[in-house]
């Protein structure tokens, strides 16, 4: 079922994927079933104001209906600002933000993630920073700072430690980024 079909209101429920609910619960959206679709979260969500077709309440509804493909075909889940307005206002403590994160985790397990996220993860592994600008040394010098910040970029031991941590996480099991060779990019702004 495409996001177009969903947008036009034609939903074939027999095509829904009932396993999606359990997957979301397992990946951090434990309180999913508490949602009563009251839409308080939608009233607070910047994605609504910006005009994304899916936002907190609708994403939860789509999960209830098992509309896996519709959610994966659309970029809305990746536009969530993690601002947590929804978490603050939800009367049922559903933690809608975490449900959207869980939906991203489902998408990632199907390799349906944006290139920028892949680049961010690779940059995090290679440099310790998801946002990284190799040319920043000049900018830093211009305002009187050392070329590198006192982070993993200036401390190879610390970077090795971080990489050892990342190699023990689900990211390694999923094989989304190569972890053997370093491919430090010039820039990455995720």
């Amino acid at each position: 079922m495409s996001s177009d079909q969903v947008a036009t209101g034609v939903i074939n429920l027999s095509e829904g994927d009932s396993s999606l609910v359990n997957e979301i619960k397992e990946l951090g959206g434990e309180e999913l079933m508490e949602c009563i679709q009251c839409a308080k979260c939608a009233a607070a969500c910047p994605m609504v104001l910006a005009g994304f077709p899916f936002f907190n309440k609708r994403i939860i509804q789509a999960i209830f209906l098992g509309l896996r493909d519709a959610l994966l075909d659309d970029s809305s889940i990746w536009a969530c600002q993690s601002c947590n307005r929804c978490t603050e206002v939800c009367p049922r403590e559903v933690n809608p933000f975490e449900i959207i994160q869980a939906m991203r985790r489902v998408a990632i397990r199907e390799f349906a993630l944006p290139t920028l996220s892949i680049e961010g993860l690779k940059s995090l592994y290679d440099t310790g920073h998801a946002v990284y600008l190799a040319g920043a040394g000049n900018t830093r010098a211009k305002v009187g700072l050392p070329e590198k910040p006192p982070s993993t970029v200036a401390n190879p031991e610390a970077l090795k430690e971080l990489q050892a941590v990342i190699r023990k996480t689900a990211l390694a099991d999923l094989g989304i980024i190569p972890m053997d060779e370093s491919g430090v990019k010039e820039t990455c702004e995720v």
Binding site: F97, R140, P150
Partner: protein, 296 residues
């Protein structure tokens, strides 16, 4: 007093003038900064948190343990770092099973997450530890005669349950306002005060939609406050407001420019910092407002 400075990515690589502002203002107010040597990315939302809860917490926890070993709280000027570090801490502190899995991972690098350091946002830290009156006494220059519009930033406010420093009512935030008023500014209220600026994941996903949000905010600020300066509480909001105005002007969406600074840059200026070092990378023209501050 001493705190751990978590510099994060955007501040270190994109706006190191903001980093300089923190490095100037904290010591000038009698607070020593420790660099938390070897820190990494928080990590931010589109990366580890989008893959897996335990992995996110493990990368965050490594940062937490650097501060814990030194017995320091973590201070940051970036909303994403603040949000991610505070949320990973909250998850580990309230879910023993997550903490146990994280510590299993950290064992290999000889670290253990205990949960003893708090995560603080720089201006909340100063507000709570020193208070606006002591800050007022310490400054050389003031914002007298300047009207400002505020951009507190989403992650300074929500979800309030994960933060050490809270607003009494996050939908009517007061801390940034009181800080600016203590420095002498007139703070104007505008309808879209707590709206999101559109930076971050939204901007990476759809630039046009992201710009729509910042445009709505700018027009609300201009019409209702007509400010001399926008003051942000978050480095991401700083970057969005500072860079989006030119795009919106060339797209004929707005026909004005409002200078933008982070509250720590404003504070550093008021304490006597070199404007080139602490505001030198601004894209909006801040020279007039900086001169007005320095001329009193």
């Amino acid at each position: 007093m001493k705190v751990g400075f978590f510099v994060g990515c955007n501040t270190a690589f994109n706006r190191p003038d903001l980093e300089q502002a923190v490095r100037y203002a904290f010591p000038a107010l009698g607070i020593e900064l420790d660099d938390l040597e070897g820190q990494s990315c928080c990590p931010s939302w589109g990366t580890m948190p989008s893959v897996d809860v335990v992995g996110w917490c493990a990368v965050g926890a490594r940062n937490h343990t650097i501060a814990e070993e030194k017995g320091l709280d973590i201070v940051t000027v970036c909303g994403s770092c603040y949000g991610s570090l505070a949320e990973s801490k909250y998850k580990m502190d309230t879910h023993p099973e997550i903490k146990a899995q994280v510590n299993e991972i950290l064992k290999d690098i000889g670290r253990e997450y205990k949960g003893t350091s708090n995560v603080r946002l720089a201006f909340y830290y100063l507000y709570h530890e020193l208070g606006p009156d002591r800050i007022k006494e310490a400054v050389k220059y003031k914002l007298d005669g300047l009207t400002v519009a505020l951009q507190p930033g989403c992650h300074t406010l929500w979800p309030s349950k994960v933060y050490y420093d809270k607003e009494e009512d996050p939908f009517h935030p007061r801390v940034l306002k009181e800080m600016c008023e203590a420095l002498g500014a007139t703070v104007g209220h505008y309808t879209r005060l707590i709206d999101c600026c559109g930076m971050g994941a939204m901007r990476s996903t759809d630039m046009e939609k992201s710009l729509k949000l910042v445009e709505k905010k700018l027009i609300s600020m201009k019409n209702e406050v007509n400010p001399d300066l926008i003051v942000t509480g978050c480095s991401s909001c700083l970057i969005q407001f500072d860079t989006a105005q030119e795009l919106l002007r060339s797209g004929k969406k707005i026909n004005f420019e409002i200078p933008v600074l982070h509250i720590m840059q404003v504070l550093a200026l008021c304490l006597g910092a070199d404007p080139e070092k602490v505001t030198g990378l601004a894209k909006t023209d801040v020279s007039r407002v900086v001169n007005r501050i320095l001329e009193g």
